[in-house]
Symmetry: C2
Subunit: 216 residues, 2 copies
């Protein structure tokens, strides 16, 4: 049975690939599995029917027969566990790849999300500019460490994994800030991720919904 | 081989159990596995030797022979995958429990962490009080949804799982704010978690380090 995910009917980013369905699409494309997409409007996301699927009224969700999942991290992991290509088979390498998934979502993404939230929701507050500088320094503190660990490697731990998929997806959200430009190896890392054919297909598919253009 | 985790030599919370080693200790206690603890000072956490284990210079870490992990979410998952008691055996229920782990860490914890960061690092900024009110409303938005989903159930999805362990651990960080008092079913949920013998042993163990008292 082909799973069905949800995505924004109209993404707030206009198709820049920052919405979290892009991560899930990317995972499907890496493992070569087809998927269906059901689009949800902002109004419908907060209705009981959608909250029965996603308790926090967000996208993406994952439905496959009786199974209903939400949270992009959990969905990517679910795909990675069931299909070859996103997690190493060797037990220790697999555990380390999963560690990088959690690191992306719980250590690197929070200050990046804080930046976006401050930018969007506190734009008119008198503290916005000053606070953004504080948040940017917190982001740099994470990127300093991430850059040091990555060094000259292509990926965080051996072959490309779900950990890289998640970390690249998180770092892409920094593009408009230009902070990433301060870290050449991280910029190259993100470019390597975006250069993967699977990422390109995922990006094109979400863009097509937001522009009405057919996928590449 | 008994795994070794790291914890703060002196926790910033003075032993309230908010440091992330408590989650990992709780997981070990739930599955009945012994573990060793290596204490790390704030200064040592930022040294190359510790960053070789934890790239972001934090605690907890997990070392077992050749395997080195970091991120409390990844460590709890690693323990849950290898021992009975924290993840259902039925495949769909297992995937849903993992979903709640990610939801705790990536959807519920970020605004709670934002509150703590604002409180600690922006305490002297003129915007602190006003911004805390904004952040509190973001927290309430998450708790409204979580409370609605939990309803009258004891745990988020059937039996207690690693998803509940992580969600309770995240909600505990709200104690000082009193926001949790606005949600009787979530307060009772946290109390049920804290009432588990495994939690009590984990809490006592971290408290003993911070007070010098022997564990209960």
């Amino acid at each position: 049975m082909t799973p069905t995910i949800t995505a924004f009917e109209r993404s707030p980013d206009g198709g820049q690939g920052l919405a979290r369905d892009t991560r899930v699409r990317w995972a499907f494309e890496e493992v070569g599995q087809p998927y269906n997409v059901r689009l949800v409007s902002f109004a419908a996301m907060k209705e009981p029917a959608h909250k029965a699927v996603h308790p926090f009224g967000q996208i993406p969700t994952y439905e496959e027969g009786d199974l209903v999942l939400f949270e992009s991290g959990a969905i990517v992991f679910h795909i990675a566990e069931r299909h070859e290509g996103l997690l190493p088979t060797e037990a220790n390498a697999r555990a380390r790849a999963i560690t990088w998934m959690f690191a992306a979502l719980n250590t690197v993404e929070p200050p990046i999300l804080d930046r976006a939230t401050t930018w969007i929701s506190e734009r008119k507050e008198p503290w916005c500019e000053q606070r953004l500088r504080l948040v940017d320094d917190r982001i740099r503190s994470r990127l300093d460490d991430l850059s040091a660990r990555l060094g000259n490697a292509d990926w965080l731990d051996g072959e490309f994994s779900a950990g890289d998929l998640m970390m690249v997806s998180v770092l892409i959200r920094l593009r408009s800030s230009r902070i990433l430009d301060e870290y050449p190896n991280l910029s190259a890392y993100v470019a390597r991720g975006e250069g993967r054919p699977a990422y390109k297909r995922a990006f094109a598919a979400q863009l097509a919904i937001n522009t009405g253009a057919p996928p590449a």
